[in-house]
């Protein structure tokens, strides 16, 4: 039954395809590392090139898939080094990745995240190889009601992040949800909060939101420091550059758990790396944050989202290859690329196009190894980026991001919006808000609303639909548990272990 895979390795190991896989991995890492160019745009830019060069379908797909998986690797770099997420899946990576860099552990952080990315992707690719057809059937059973319950679970898990200031976390998440309501209402087509500006009809672009919130506000903070002649939050000198084996082993369960979470969420059509990494991070915090150090540079807090976002990238190939339904925004574009080649991805593809499917899956294995080999030594190089003064580094990255965003919108409005959001982000940070809940509220809130309304349109307004399937009931129970258990656990601990409190 694995004939297609053997055939696939035959295809993927030809010099041309190996070269393309490497090129894809390299370009993808760069696209991911630059905020503003995510995998979607990277692929959209290179898709016509691959076609114009006259590459055969499997080679083009190998190149584009390399870019996709590579950018999930690359997205972590600016998250860790600059506190600016490189793409959607890398938002959670900032939470512990950047504090690690501040401690002088940028090199090990980059190395560890490369290893967890590798493991996450590998687990997911094996899952893809073994269970794709089976999973696809389960994935479509996941309907609006189940998605809504999943979002509730994700929000409930966020309560784990409410560490020192629960009210501010809550406010931040609600602000994010509020921002997600801008634009055409997805059910009725009514315009909401658009103030007659057509630029706002489609809602606020995720990239605009991220660059504004993280990069622009960072520049504003630096400006403020410069004005006041403050000592800027200096980076610790760069210590060792390689990650230690003991650190990887410390994270092994975090990585494996998150890989599975990421893969499962990636398989579901309609959710991608951002949801996967958020759920993985918050779950991991619940499970293994014993000393409340998540958010201050805990290695597990870094490994979890990185394993998950790479796993979800591979997972999103499952519905694409088996059902012809994109599992993420990026695979939607890959579907379009296949159509340029007269290949209709879907249920028949494994039988009709074994070379393409096998070649793609084999190249995912190979590309993933390449990415690890590429990224481990790069960790040392990129860690040194921090020796460039921040006043030069952050604006340079911001300029690149601005150019990228302008190219995608051909409209200054996007830039203005980004600046406005930047000022907003600056104020939030001055008032001691964490930005991650805002972004999560923004991403999850939109999905939650859409799916709630879909579920209610299906049932004709009967809320019973939300509790009908075993899947959704399970998610509701899980959501309740993640909120309730810590509350009671705290009390129980206080009651039976008074010593624990004192320590």
């Amino acid at each position: 039954m694995f004939d297609f895979l053997i055939q696939g390795f035959g295809v993927a190991l030809t010099p041309l395809n190996l070269g393309l896989a490497f090129l894809g991995a390299l370009l993808g890492t760069l696209f991911g590392a630059l905020p503003g160019i995510g995998p979607i745009n990277g692929i959209a830019i290179l898709m016509p090139l691959a076609y114009t060069l006259g590459l055969p379908a499997e080679s083009a797909l190998i190149l584009l898939a390399g870019i996709y998986t590579g950018s999930e690797y690359g997205g972590r770099m600016s998250s860790i080094l600059l506190n600016v997420p490189g793409d959607a899946g890398a938002v959670m990576t900032t939470l512990d990745g950047h504090p690690l860099a501040k401690k002088g552990l940028a090199g090990p952080a980059l190395g560890l995240s490369a290893v967890s990315s590798f493991i996450g992707a590998t687990v997911a690719i094996i899952g893809l190889t073994l269970f794709a057809p089976l999973l696809a059937i389960v994935a479509v059973k996941f309907g609006p009601a189940e998605f809504f319950a999943l979002m509730i679970f994700a929000f409930a898990s966020m309560s784990a992040m409410m560490g020192k200031d629960p009210v501010k976390t809550l406010i931040g998440a609600v602000l994010g949800v509020l921002i997600s309501t801008v634009g055409v209402d997805s059910g009725t087509g009514v315009l909401r909060f658009t103030f007659d500006m057509p630029e706002l009809y489609d809602g606020i672009d995720f990239v605009v939101m991220i660059i504004g919130l993280f990069a622009v506000s960072e520049i504003l903070l630096m400006l403020e420091h410069a004005f006041r002649h403050d000592q800027e939050g200096e980076m610790a000198p760069i210590g060792r550059v390689m990650v230690k084996m003991s650190e990887v082993l410390y994270c092994k369960w975090a990585i494996l758990r998150s890989s599975v979470i990421g893969f499962v969420i990636g398989v579901l059509p309609g959710t991608g790396a951002s949801v996967a990494s958020a759920v993985a991070y918050t779950t991991e915090k619940r499970i293994s944050d014993h000393d409340n150090s998540f958010g201050t540079g805990n290695m597990r807090g870094l490994a979890a989202p990185e394993a998950a976002n790479n796993a979800s990238a591979a997972g999103s190939f499952v519905p694409m290859l088996t059902l012809g339904i994109p599992g993420s925004g990026t695979t939607a574009i890959l579907l379009g690329a296949l159509m340029l080649y007269n290949i209709n991805p879907g249920p028949m593809m494994f039988r009709e196009q074994p070379v393409v499917v096998g070649g793609l899956i084999a190249s995912l294995y190979i590309g993933n190894v390449m990415l690890l080999l590429l990224n481990l030594p790069l960790a040392g190089v990129f860690a040194r980026v921090l020796q460039v003064p921040r006043w030069l580094l952050v604006p340079s990255v911001a300029i690149l991001a601005f150019v990228g965003v302008y190219q995608l919108h051909s409209d200054l409005m996007a830039i203005y919006l980004m600046l406005i959001i930047g000022v907003f982000g600056y104020l939030l940070r001055k008032f001691g808000f964490s930005l991650a809940p805002v972004v999560l509220g923004f991403v999850l809130g939109g999905l939650m609303e859409e799916n709630l309304r879909r579920a209610l349109s299906i049932s004709g307004g009967d809320v019973g639909i939300l509790f009908q399937s075993g899947l959704s009931i399970g998610l509701w129970i899980a959501a309740a548990l993640v909120v309730l258990i810590p509350m009671f656990a705290g009390k129980l601990k206080a009651k039976f272990l008074p010593a624990a409190k004192a320590s």
Partner: protein, 329 residues
């Protein structure tokens, strides 16, 4: 520190390189350009690529056509831009579809924008709406589905990839109207695009999907779905030959989804004519026929003034229809 110097140099080079690259895009002596009024990767992107790849393969343009993106307002931002800023650019075409005509008819591009504000150039292909059910659905033909709808309009869950008032909704609404059912009584669920709707159909969350014919080919081949009716004028050939039209089953509903282009209002007649001729010529080449088939589009030959009148008529029809289905007054 030698490393740091190496790195700053490297970084400066990267930044200038990036800036130059961006500058180069701006500074080039006007190559032909196609604006896709959406984010990369969507239907409009593919519409632009259809022209860009086709024209280049057929050597009908000297320089490669640039595709740029202008998302926003389901196409309104680009419409604004072309009617206001680049209104006389002879090298610029903008991708459009039936959806743009519908939005114009519903006033979603802003009430000041009319169909005559741009010059409609031509269409390179067309797809048709389709009424789709799962393979195990209780209805064997359109008539049975329509009778079920008549009996209980909210008893059938219909879903598709657009909001109320979108193309996909219009297909459902027109069907309802043909069965004398009030479209507002339908149980309609909007998803994000055809892919999600199809997943919902296969996962038994919705019962009927009002999709597009050609995008369903893979699932049709595998027997996962049945297409009860094609919303085309007459039966399509090839793999679709067995699918009856709605019309031949007694329900007069048609929904063509053309893929075409428009230009700015003040483009010279000469430039407009030249582009129309180019598209017409492209449409007749053998290599383009393959390209079009690959994109899952059926032929449609309307160019220049012919096409302009077609779109104008369509917008007028849509305005009438939207009143009939209770969308506007």
């Amino acid at each position: 520190m030698p490393n740091s110097r190496f790195l700053s140099r490297w970084l400066v080079a990267a930044v200038t390189g990036g800036a130059l690259l961006a500058g180069a895009v701006q500074a080039q002596a006007k190559p032909p350009e196609c604006i896709a009024p959406a984010k990369p990767g969507g239907g409009y992107d593919l519409t632009c690529r259809l022209a860009a790849n086709g024209l280049q393969d057929a050597k009908l343009i000297d320089e490669p056509m640039m595709v740029s993106y202008m998302p926003g307002g389901i196409g309104a931002v680009a419409y604004n831009h072309v009617t206001g800023v680049r209104d006389d650019d002879p090298n610029l075409i903008v991708a459009a579809s039936t959806g743009a005509a519908l939005n114009l008819a519903l006033g979603k591009f802003g009430l000041k924008h009319k169909v005559d504000d741009v010059r409609w150039l031509g269409a390179l292909g067309v797809d048709y709406g389709a009424i789709v059910v799962r393979k195990d659905a209780p209805w064997n033909n359109l008539d049975e589905l329509m009778k079920a709808l008549k009996q209980d309009p909210s008893g059938v869950v219909i879903g598709a990839g657009g909001t109320v008032g979108s193309q996909d909704w219009m297909k459902a609404a027109l069907m309802a109207k043909a069965a004398d059912v009030d479209p507002r009584k339908l149980r309609y669920v909007s998803f994000e695009g055809g892919g999600e709707s199809l997943a919902a159909l296969l996962g038994e969350h919705i019962q009927v999907f009002t999709g597009d014919l050609a995008e369903l080919k893979p699932q049709l081949d595998s027997g996962e779905i049945r297409i009860l009716a094609a919303l085309s004028e007459e039966r399509m050939g090839g793999p679709y030959a067995d699918i009856p039209t709605a019309k031949e089953q007694g329900y007069d509903v048609e929904w063509p989804i053309w893929r075409g282009y428009y230009m700015g209002p003040n483009v010279s007649d000469e430039a407009y004519q030249q582009w129309a001729d180019r598209l017409r010529e492209l449409n007749d080449t053998e290599s383009f026929k393959e390209l079009r088939e690959g994109r899952g589009l059926f032929p449609m030959s309307k160019f220049g003034d012919d096409f302009h009148q077609y779109v104008k008529q369509q917008v007028a029809d849509f305005q009438q229809l939207s009143k009939e289905v209770g969308l506007t007054r």
